[in-house]
């Protein structure tokens, strides 16, 4: 009975946290767009534009290609499902992930690979060359980013003595975060990877529809209506998830250690602030850089790999 109750509690907690991320994610996307526009002396979209877009897409008639099979329909749903399920493995407001009993960092990375696999496979289904091009490039960049991502995560995790994110942030908070130069290197390495994985300049340009430069957009080019809404929404959640992961690993202060309403509210404010600061960093990176050629991306990613390895070496040797 107790087990059933605690399982239900964990599920309710997971649902609430997923709902929070789903609610905030479109705002994050628009905030970055808005800040970018302001940096270019443009007005930019209203802050709620992300929500309007999703609401509109969800109301539209689903239009699908004649050549596509059930994979095309399953792709966005699996993508959305895997990304949302991944959010339950990460602590957001409370120093513990709702589903930390399911697994840690490796499962999180696995869930995101699951999401990418689903979307890339579905992209090949319409017979358009764009889908194939996007899928090929997306899988290429992801493959190159994976070792740097893992190494960066390992460095943080080994410092805290656990691969489970809930356990990890608790250890960090309880033992106090000792500032170590390796944290700077690991953070820089992971930030590059987050840029690459979320399809931001200089790796990918979220605002383009030019065939030579598209990566993520090429992959989802054929999608429309509710299918597209799922993809867009899940991508926004994924970006928020990566930023949350960064703050969890490097500045876990402010996470509520108990479920008291006051400390949770404080944690919410602190979390939004921290994510906002990272969003500013992403915006500045996007505005100050030009998109790299696809074949220059490996150089960028290998910088990240080098940083992560250095971080590991200076921390533990």
């Amino acid at each position: 009975m107790d087990m059933v109750l605690s399982a239900l509690q964990a599920f309710a907690f997971a649902a609430l946290q997923a709902a929070l991320l789903l609610a905030v994610a479109p705002l994050l996307k628009t905030v970055i767009k808005k800040m970018k526009a302001r940096l270019q002396n443009r007005q930019g979209p209203p802050l709620l534009q992300g929500y309007y877009d999703l609401a509109k897409l969800l109301r539209k008639e689903p239009v699908r290609s004649e050549t596509a099979s059930w994979i095309y329909v399953a792709g966005p749903r699996a993508y959305f499902g895997a990304v949302v399920a991944a959010t339950t493995l990460v602590p957001v407001l409370v120093a513990g992930a709702p589903m930390e009993s399911a697994g840690g960092i490796l499962l999180l990375v696995g869930a995101l690979t699951f999401a990418r696999f689903a979307l890339a496979t579905a992209a090949l289904d319409t017979g358009s060359a764009f889908g194939g091009m996007g899928a090929s490039r997306d899988m290429t960049i992801a493959a190159l980013a994976e070792p740097a991502l893992m190494l960066g995560l390992f460095t943080s995790a080994l410092g805290a003595g656990s691969l489970n994110l809930g356990e990890l942030v608790r250890n960090l908070i309880v033992h106090g975060v000792t500032f170590h130069p390796s944290d700077v290197l690991a953070f820089a390495g992971l930030f590059i990877i987050v840029i690459a994985e979320t399809g931001r300049i200089p790796v990918d340009n979220p605002a383009t529809h030019l065939e030579l430069t598209m990566i993520h957009e090429a992959m989802v080019l054929e999608y429309a209506g509710p299918d597209l809404a799922l993809v867009e929404w899940a991508s926004a959640v994924k970006e928020l998830l990566y930023l949350t992961l960064l703050v969890d690993l490097f500045v876990p202060f402010g996470l509520a250690l108990t479920a008291e309403p006051v400390s949770v509210f404080v944690a919410l404010v602190v979390w939004l602030l921290k994510v906002f600061v990272l969003a500013v960093a992403v915006t500045i990176t996007e505005s100050a850089n030009a998109k790299l050629r696809l074949f220059r991306v490996p150089e960028l990613v290998s910088i990240s790999l080098g940083l992560a390895f250095l971080a590991l070496a200076i921390r533990f040797l």
Partner: protein, 673 residues
């Protein structure tokens, strides 16, 4: 149960004989061979399960001939039982599948031969796993090689098949020669033939031990297909009929892995850390090069063969990590790493045989193995496509499928290795971890390509457009294996529970894993390090998936089907992304590995700006064939040529050799007395 092992061998022999009797009736020969094979495999499987469940080890004699003193013995230890369990789990569905597959793909005149080869190969593998003395082991090892070579040459009118079988024979015999030398070196110091005496680990020491280790590494490494001993594998696996390829990839290479476990890791005393590091290096290199070569293949079965090299690399990586841990007396860590490696043996066997059976169905349905000729197969072959997708997801290491579990365990072993071993040597652990991450991400890219290009979008050839689904008898085994992929992925505790009896039976290991059905947990210095409960995650993922379906269906509007936009032109298979194009970015990024040479030829009629045909060739450099085996081969041939002087055809010279030899022997023996 006591008679299960010899009984299975007798069934195989009787079956092979009976199949020979029906050499003129192909259908009967096929039924006899496969029914016999199913019976024997089921018997072996049951016996292996009983040993794994904690039953007594099965020991005894196959044959005892008092007059000549010839004794062939067997002993099913828990380690053998693990490999035999994997063997049975794959051999049974493959035999069922073969009933339909052979009927379609093997000409009647060769049916009896293939049936006999099938049974002899499987029987020999069984005996390799249970052999308790050197004679039995080497005899079965050789029989396994010969039967497999015969099966590889099934389509012997094809020069490629003949070449593959020849290459396989040569490489295998180099390996067997090394094994023979290794066993002789061990036997010379003990005078016994029993494997348990020879592999007690106290017979050799010093450089002698390293030398014996190297011999066994080559001998078993060739069978396991690890780089640089892999050159036969991508030739032989595709050449064999698909269900044989499945057995070769899933079962035959595990014979090599079994040898590496039994002899290199646990048979020569406590391994040194250098051996472990060598294994880790070989494993990592095999994994990464295997998957990189797989990515650029456009022949479905060849691609799967390269991916087998990758997975053998992952097994050897885990084994190597365990050996380093053993050399530092980190028993818990060694147990975890060995568990990861053995779990991957099982998981790879399941998903790779599934993929090869799927490939067999595709090849049977279309008549070609080229990815560029497939496309849109999911419409024509919905079930094969679904099962293939499950296999592709499992091999890509996605959570909820079995491939993820063993990769997870390997990562755990590598990370815990980093935290529990001191000194510079531990940096090898996260480095190989990063390379393992790269491997699994590249595998994901590779299998997105395979599945997407083969099964989705428009058919690229008339053969693909008219592909036909396989009969139910061929789909059922695939369904079973796909089910196993999911089941072992969601309940990994079952696998580790079964391993709970195997690991403590190996010297230096003990069982440190806390076990229940759904959760696996690893500990570091008593504290929890990480855990995995895929069933919980499955529940979360399914709920989220359900939410997504509801969310997108909320507006209740019917779907409109429209043609894909063809950029103003007509959308056809020719405008689709091809398999070569898909892997092109990775080919360009890793061109230091591939060193591709390409040639583009443009055929024009009027203006060079309007070509009516563009021809494109791209070949990747066969690095190992050219730079390792090329010089080796030339060296061997050069020496052989030089030795012609001795064998000049002159009878007088030969008589002189005999005389010199006799005198030398007499002198040597006399000198000894």
């Amino acid at each position: 149960m006591e008679v299960a092992v010899p009984a299975a061998v007798v069934i195989r022999l009787v079956t092979a004989g009976a199949t020979l009797a029906f050499v003129r009736q192909a259908a009967t020969a096929r039924s006899v061979a496969l029914v016999g094979s199913i019976l024997a495999s089921a018997l072996t499987f049951t016996a292996a399960i009983s040993v794994l469940m904690g039953g007594p080890s099965l020991e005894g004699d196959f044959l005892r001939h008092t007059a000549s003193g010839l004794v062939l013995t067997y002993s099913m230890t828990p380690l053998s039982a693990w490999f035999l369990m994997v063997f049975g789990l794959v051999a049974l569905p493959v035999a069922v599948y073969s009933a339909g597959y052979f009927a379609h793909s093997i000409p009647a005149s060769r049916m009896a031969g293939v049936g006999i080869g099938f049974n002899v190969m499987l029987g020999a593998v069984e005996v390799v796993f249970v052999a308790a003395d050197v004679i039995t082991f080497l005899f079965a090892w050789e029989l396994m090689t010969l039967a497999t070579a015969a099966l590889v040459a099934t389509e012997h009118e094809e020069p490629a098949s003949r070449r593959a079988a020849y290459l396989y024979l040569v490489m295998s015999h180099v390996g067997t020669g090394c094994l023979l030398a290794g066993f002789l070196a061990l036997g010379g110091s003990s005078g016994s033939m029993s494997l348990s005496t020879l592999l007690a680990g106290n017979l050799v020491s010093g450089w002698h031990r390293d030398f014996v280790f190297a011999l066994f590494l080559i001998g078993f490494g060739v069978k396991a297909g690890i780089i640089p001993f892999h050159v036969w594998l991508p030739e032989a696996h595709p050449a064999a009929p698909s269900s044989i390829s499945a057995l070769m990839s899933a079962v035959l290479i595990t014979a090599g892995i079994y040898g590496l476990f039994r002899v290199c890791a646990f048979g020569l005393g406590t391994p040194t850390s250098n051996w472990g590091l060598l294994f880790m290096a070989l494993g990592t290199v095999s994994a990464i090069l295997g998957v990189l070569y797989a990515l650029t293949q456009n022949d479905l079965k060849r691609l799967l063969a390269y991916s087998t090299i990758e997975n053998a690399g992952i097994m050897v990586l885990g084994l190597g990590a365990g050996m380093v841990a053993l050399s530092y007396q980190r028993s818990e860590l060694a147990t975890l790493a060995m568990a990861a490696s053995l779990a991957h043996v099982l998981n790879h066997a399941v998903f790779k045989s599934l993929l090869f059976l799927g490939a067999g169905s595709v090849v049977m349905g279309t008549g070609t193995r080229s990815l560029e000729a497939f496309g849109g197969l999911l419409r024509r072959m919905p079930w094969t496509g679904l099962f293939f997708l499950v296999g592709a997801m499992a091999i890509a290491g996605l959570p909820l499928l079995n491939g993820f579990v063993s990769e997870w365990l390997t990562f755990q072993a590598l990370l815990l290795g980093f935290s529990s071993i001191s000194g510079l040597i531990r940096l090898n652990y996260p480095l190989s971890g990063a390379l393992l991450a790269l491997t699994s991400a590249l595998a994901a890219a590779c299998f997105v390509k395979v599945f997407g290009i083969s099964f989705l979008a428009l058919p690229r050839s008339p053969a693909a457009a008219e592909a036909h689904e396989s009969p139910r008898s061929m789909l059922a085994p695939q369904a079973f294996l796909a089910f196993m992929c999911v089941g072992l992925g969601i309940f990994p505790g079952v696998v580790l529970g079964a391993l709970g009896g195997v690991l403590p039976s190996l010297p230096g290991l003990h069982n440190a894993m806390s076990l229940d059905w759904g959760t696996i947990e690893t500990k570091s210095a008593g504290a929890s390090f990480d855990h995995l409960a895929p069933a919980t995650f499955a529940a979360v993922l399914l709920s989220a998936l359900f939410a997504a379906v509801l969310l997108a269906a909320r507006n209740g509007l019917a779907t409109r089907r429209v043609p894909t936009w063809g950029c103003g032109g007509e959308l056809s298979a020719r405008t689709e992304y091809s398999a070569a194009a898909f892997s092109k970015p990775l080919m360009m990024i890793f061109n230091g590995v591939y060193r591709p040479s390409r040639r583009v030829e443009t055929l024009t009629e009027s203006s060079p700006y309007f070509p009516h045909e563009v021809r494109y060739w791209a070949v990747i450099e066969p690095t190992f064939e050219r730079y390792v085996y090329g010089p080796l081969l030339r060296g061997v041939l050069g020496i052989a040529n030089g030795m012609k002087v001795l064998q000049a055809g002159s009878l007088h010279a030969y008589l002189a050799y005999v005389l010199v030899l006799v005198v030398a022997i007499l002198w040597w023996l006399g000198g000894g007395a």
